[in-house]
């Protein structure tokens, strides 16, 4: 029991030291730009299809539920602002974060643990290249850049799928759907941008947890499996906990 607690504190301390060394490598003499671009391609562009499909269905189901509820209170004129509020502020950053934690977190952790186990990280050090600058920082930056972009795409597509449900399927007036958004109920500076700020934190969290788990991998095949599982689980829990804190902070 006591050991368990100590392990948690030690792990946390190591994790913080790890993040600090990633961040401090920003000032290292050389930023591996091409590595960063390749990682943006892998993390952002590779996840685009997943996010598009997810956002269509999230938009549809959320609009469906809200349509039924608002219909009872005859408040359908506020449909799009309720949907946009829920999606822009909460659903799109959190769902994007969870999906990316599943898709990218596991990949990054597996990659890193493979590199670590085959001692390629050590060989980088032998060449005098800091693994923090060459391996970690490009992924970390790519995560921070890509998540807000994916959230923007999520927002735009899900509001369109919401429109498709309400206007095309349920025969709502086009103007009645769009007006509440423009009419000062949903604000670009607040609702959309808050989602983006959140997602930046989520991106940093997902990638740093995955890198950490990959870097401190145990020996053997089961060690690799564990590290990629832990990367997804811890990142998902971290996202949900952080989401509450950030919502309180940013509202």
């Amino acid at each position: 029991m006591f050991d368990f607690l100590i392990n948690i504190f030690v792990g946390m301390g190591r994790f913080i030291r790890f993040i600090m060394s990633i961040m401090s490598s920003v000032v290292s003499p050389y930023l591996w730009v091409w590595q960063t671009v390749v990682q943006i391609n892998m993390i952002g562009v590779g996840s685009l299809f997943l996010i598009c499909i997810a956002s269509i269905f999230i938009g549809l189901v959320f609009t469906f539920q809200m349509y039924m509820i608002l219909n009872k209170f005859s408040g359908l004129s506020q449909l799009s602002s309720v949907v946009a509020f829920g999606i822009f502020r909460e659903l799109s950053p959190v769902v994007t974060g969870l999906l990316i934690a599943g898709r990218v977190g596991s990949t990054v952790a597996a990659e890193l643990s493979q590199l670590r186990q085959s001692e390629q990280v050590d060989s980088l050090l032998m060449w005098g290249i800091s693994p923090y600058a060459y391996l970690m920082l490009p992924r970390f930056l790519a995560g921070i850049v890509c998540l807000p972009v994916l959230v923007l795409v999520f927002d735009a597509i899900s509001i369109y799928s919401s429109w498709a449900y309400a206007v095309l399927l349920k025969g709502m007036e086009n103007q009645i759907f769009w007006n509440p958004l423009l009419d000062g109920n949903v604000f670009f500076e607040q609702d959309v941008l808050y989602g983006l700020y959140k997602s930046m934190f989520f991106g940093g969290l997902i990638i740093s947890v995955a890198l950490f788990q990959g870097f401190y991998v145990k020996r053997g095949v089961s060690g690799m499996a564990q590290s990629s599982t832990k990367a997804v689980v811890y990142a998902s829990l971290g996202i949900l906990a952080m989401d509450y804190l950030l919502s309180q902070l940013l509202y």
């Binding site: 004129s77 927002d155 423009l182 670009f188 959309v192």
Partner: protein
């Protein structure tokens, strides 16, 4: 095409998509009224401002012309003091105008509405609008209706 070209192409397309989504969302959603240096401040005293909040909008003839900056209770009369900002410095409000707290629809947010008067004198920045109409609290309305029904029996 070389592999690096494909990567460049897809990353470029990714960010162009992001910019497109950004502008789409920016045009579709509303803006917070530009507060700060623009415009001028006025105030008004109400008996009841239930539901009004900071950043609630101020309307004139249905058009948004400003927003609420601050709500506080006066220590002597216990009435609510609302300070609000008119965004357009050129928009002058007659000093016999009425200001009231209204609701958008049944579930909607509360807002301040100014009904302009006919005076040739205008309210100066920082001054108070004297004619006010408080928020309608549904419970009070219901109790009045119930009382009415009770007396008719």
């Amino acid at each position: 095409m070389k592999k690096s070209h494909i990567v460049d192409f897809s990353v470029g397309a990714f960010f162009i998509l992001a910019i497109a989504a950004f502008f789409f969302l920016a045009t579709v959603t509303g803006r917070t009224a530009n507060s700060g240096s623009e415009g001028y401040e006025l105030s008004a005293r109400f008996e009841d401002v239930s539901g009004l909040a900071n950043n609630s909008v101020v309307r004139l003839s249905g058009v948004i012309i400003g927003q609420v900056e601050d709500i506080s209770v006066l220590h002597d009369t216990y009435s609510a003091m609302v300070r609000f900002r008119i965004d357009d410095p050129g928009l002058k409000i007659p000093d016999d105008s009425t200001i009231g707290v209204y609701t958008e629809g049944i579930l909607g947010a509360k807002y301040l509405a100014i009904i302009p008067g006919f005076s040739e004198e205008y309210v100066k920045p920082g001054q108070e609008i004297l004619r006010t109409k408080s928020a309608v609290v549904l419970e009070n309305l219901f109790s009045k209706i119930l009382l009415l029904i009770g007396t008719e029996k």
